[in-house]
Symmetry: C2
Subunit: 120 residues, 2 copies
């Protein structure tokens, strides 16, 4: 079984998590039998490590980490590989895959552009 | 004439700006006669204030600010209104509109979800 983690930055305000829950729900509609978790770098729960541990408990063999970032900056290029390196030590049987940042994907860019021009 | 500013956070690495340029190009394809600028909160150029000044020089009467953020956190709820308050003092004839964060938009959420499940 494979699992998916939507990896976000995290923020101080509780409402911040809402769009992440909406992406999670949309993923669950597309792949109802695949476990999908949120995992944050800081400030917002659950932390990435906790979500990896949760999927490991469910017996997943491979985890696709999807950075919910517009562009690969320090958090995706440095913090994430570091966190995954630690996770690989703790969960030796699990394979990790890092997807492209959502903001780099053509379809997402086109959808953002259509929103930008609405009413302009 | 109206203008659009894609408002992003900014980051230390130069490649960070790439997806923003791609959204800008997609907006320009949709509305070829509407000036569209990038404007960043910090670290990346141009700063939001500089882009507002640039559109003001072009004679725009209304500027739609589109937060390229997943969720409204401190930067969108506090920093942005503060920056716009200052801009309104400097550019009295210009009307400002703040669009919803791109990450809150259904179409963008669905596109992110489709990316998340690709290959999973």
């Amino acid at each position: 079984m494979n699992g998916i983690i939507l990896f976000g930055h995290g923020a101080r305000n509780a409402e911040y998590v809402e769009p992440f829950r909406r992406i999670q729900a949309a993923v669950a509609r597309l792949l109802p039998t695949t476990p999908v978790e949120l995992g944050f770098l800081e400030l917002t729960e659950p932390a990435l490590e906790a979500s990896i541990a949760s999927l490991a408990m469910k017996g997943v063999k491979k985890i696709r980490i999807v950075p919910i970032f517009f562009a690969p900056g320090r958090h995706v290029l440095k913090d994430l590989p570091l966190l995954l390196g630690n996770a690989m030590d703790r969960h030796a049987g699990i394979e990790f895959e890092i997807a492209e940042c959502v903001g780099m994907v053509d379809e997402v860019i086109e959808a953002m552009a259509r929103h930008a021009v609405r009413g302009a």
